[in-house]
Symmetry: D2
Subunit: 288 residues, 4 copies
């Protein structure tokens, strides 16, 4: 038997805007005594689109989720909605992909061990062996899948097999210095989060700190985003910045940047796990 | 006849939290074909309070506001609501109180002249004559009401008379270096905005930049808040900060601070004019 | 007779790095009893370049500036230095170029009138008449020089003539929506400051807020820089940013951005007037 | 034999301001062919104090440090200087004190393992056993020294004995929830760094996030400072802040604050290890 106490469900909705959507939806929840503890909606007037995140308590909800899904489908069809329901009690299964840089991995594993996130990390994959000891020390599976131009296709097949085998919901590229091919990306739409070490769209691609230094910017940044097939061009989830000055070398930029990267990546993971992100037109709606 | 095109009304609500409030409210608007263009609600779980800002289009609304108020009153009573309705077409009447410092006044007058705000400024009051030329140049009334310990009560009476005569909705203390007495404050609850030149609650009272310098802080700030009878202790509307270093003198703090003050004050005025602020327990709910 | 009290001179130096430069320079000032009140040096290890800003009191300096220049020239040749001396008592002559947007102009004129800067503004030039009343109200000369594709060359000639006639030291583009041609730019190297309404190098060129909105960034910015012949690619002086969210429209971006623009532009002007900026390799050294 | 290659020494100086200090000092280094790679000085005009950080290469320095110390002493006496010399090759010995919260400890150990700092961590001390497994996993000594009102004096004696035995240079309180008594503090002046989870001087003492929430601030912060005998009143090294809103609970404040705390603490440790901090009048001069 399921324990519904303190358990909530989260409904994410996007559809063309129309009068009365909120009323219709809230009426539906009222009908089954669903206690809405959070409702946030947003209308994009330019695109004439409606977005909503609605969280309600499962305790006291007087209809089975199976039956509710059937009812909801009717309303959804009427308004031409995209929708999904997630459960707060669901423990997301997250894979981490890394290369040689340790700072984001350290940060993720610390949060994992602290129980900061409702998440399971069944495995870490890397194209190098450098970070294996850190991963193993935390008692996690480590898979070494080296990638070269020649073997990329077949190695990615291995990765996909592993990800499937472990029922992975979310892939985190924690400074993974490889470009994923469409074959992998397309299987996890809005389910792969990358951290890029610049304030996108400035300085996409390789060596952004070098480019920032070269250009003489006074502020550097980091950007977390969902991965799409176009490099560093996916929907931005979060960004942050820090001041730099002429007194700082590229090494200083890299050092400062690492602290940005790990925080901005962790914030994106948290938002994803809380089902607070909707994607539309390559942009994110990030609910509070 | 009134022109309702593009005109909206904004309902602000606070009440004890209860299942079904949103549904009940949205149903009410649906009944009269009210097109909700923005709904934001917030539940304070600790205080068990519900807050909502609901903006709807007056065009197409199939009931007079008079009759709607009567209907709304019923629902409000049921849920024990505090509520108010404001209209986007209402031009708020704002008085400015200044002393000798010009930077906030300049900034407000520039925005006023640019038409940035839907506001009318019928008068500026000051306890000094220094800023009179700036005010006059903009074609505004300037009232010189010098205040000393001895004449404070009677001079404030004059101020109150002027504010009433001009039907003032909102009073802005743009670096007005006098403490208002309860007699004035109590007549304009959550209708007097002050800018304090520190990151409250650090450094309340006089000479906060000197205190910040003395303490050796690495960041200074400014705070806009509603005025209550307790000095610098009213509900905070907005704050912002900027970095300082040992290389900067008190003069530099003051200089940097001025830029913070004018921006943080302007942001608070804007939020107030957009009816985006609710006050509860000496704290603000600031809708987006 | 000149009044040297509280008057200082500022020496800016750049040259290939070498052991003993600081010692040699400070020895030279010690020889004539020059009281150094501020010395800041920076070595760019990658470029092997040395930069220094040295400010000393003219009172008590036991050599005429004429003779000192001769002595300094010798040291400068020995170390292959670029150098210049400026005087704190010099009142910089600044021209402002605007189009239709008023916010930066308002901010500059307010600071000017407040005496915040040691500066003289002999004239404002614009390709439109919109801001003429604001300029005239401050008692400043306003020159309307409309520019089209056809007349650009000859109109810029007029501008150059005006700038020369008024002995302009510094040109500020306060949201001047025209691209200056090389003919003008080359005559004022590192003497033309522009404010660009994005976080460069992201979104150069026209309509950066629209591009930022389109891309879905979570932070927008503004950049002040010296103008070079390459559009929006000159040495960056200062930048600042502010958070945005999906709830904000392009209009909101523009509104928030205006506050950034005026502050970031004012900071650049201030740094320039204080002789705190050195340019090398299209990057700025900004002394404290 | 010592290896001087790439090795530098750092001289920190503070004294009453006087004409010619820099010249005198740089002359001294020139005399022995000391290649100054960084010189930063600061004059506090109000206090009439002079501060300097001078870093020079030991390679090619034509005098032994022993003899140089003797020469320097003469100059120091002449100018009434406080001074100290540190060596970049010196590996600082750092002790960490923790209670139950893990986030700062995780962050420090990650940086330690990554070799980010030139530091040795011989031991971690805690009044609780909770974090022992994390410490042991990194192969470090863990000492459990529980502290109560009754045993405080004797337990601190044990701590002092341990710190001495391990030749500790720097003590880091990584969310150590005990107040150190003067007996310990006085033995490590400007050698104990604490992280306080508020924007000091706002909210000193216990439960600052609760107080911040109660007050309704719109920005929260963290402060790293040297510990003095007065609680949360020592010289501030660094501070940082992050925005909060009415939508966030105390739990959210705590969560966001943890990310601030670990970064602000790590920055302070780094500055200390680089010998970039001078303390004067309970304030820090933080060189670049």
């Amino acid at each position: 038997m399921e324990d519904n106490q303190n358990s909530t469900a989260i409904l994410l909705v996007s559809c063309p805007d129309k009068v009365g959507i909120v009323a219709e939806m809230t009426k539906l929840f009222g009908k089954y005594n669903g206690n809405i503890i959070n409702l946030e909606q947003h209308v994009d007037a330019e695109e004439n689109m409606f977005f909503m995140r609605l969280e309600w308590q499962l305790e006291g909800f007087s209809i089975t989720m199976e039956d509710f899904n059937i009812e909801l489908k009717k309303t959804a069809e009427e308004f031409n909605m995209n929708w999904e329901i997630n459960y707060s009690r669901h423990r997301c299964r997250m894979a981490i992909l890394v290369s040689k840089q340790a700072h984001c991995l350290y940060d993720i594993l610390s949060r994992y061990e602290s129980g900061e996130w409702n998440v399971e990390i069944p495995l870490v994959i890397s194209n190098h062996r450098d970070l294996e000891p850190i991963v193993k020390r935390h008692g996690l599976e480590f898979h070494h899948i080296p990638i070269s131009k020649e073997n990329k296709a077949e190695q990615e097949e291995k990765e996909i097999a592993l990800l499937r085998e472990h029922n992975i919901d979310l892939i985190v590229l924690a400074r993974y210095m490889q470009i994923l091919s469409a074959g992998l990306v397309d299987q996890y739409p809005n389910r792969i989060i990358n951290i890029h070490h610049s304030f996108l769209p400035a300085f996409p691609g390789a060596r952004p700190y070098h480019s920032a230094y070269e250009r003489g910017v006074k502020i550097i940044g980091a950007t977390s985003h969902y991965v799409t097939t176009e490099l560093d061009a996916g929907p931005i989830i979060d960004q942050d910045v820090t001041r730099v000055s002429h007194t700082e070398s590229i090494k200083d930029f890299v050092h400062k940047g690492k602290d940005l990267e790990k925080i901005v990546l962790a914030r994106a993971i948290r938002l994803h796990l809380q089902n607070k992100i909707l994607v539309c037109n390559n942009k994110t709606i990030v609910f509070k």
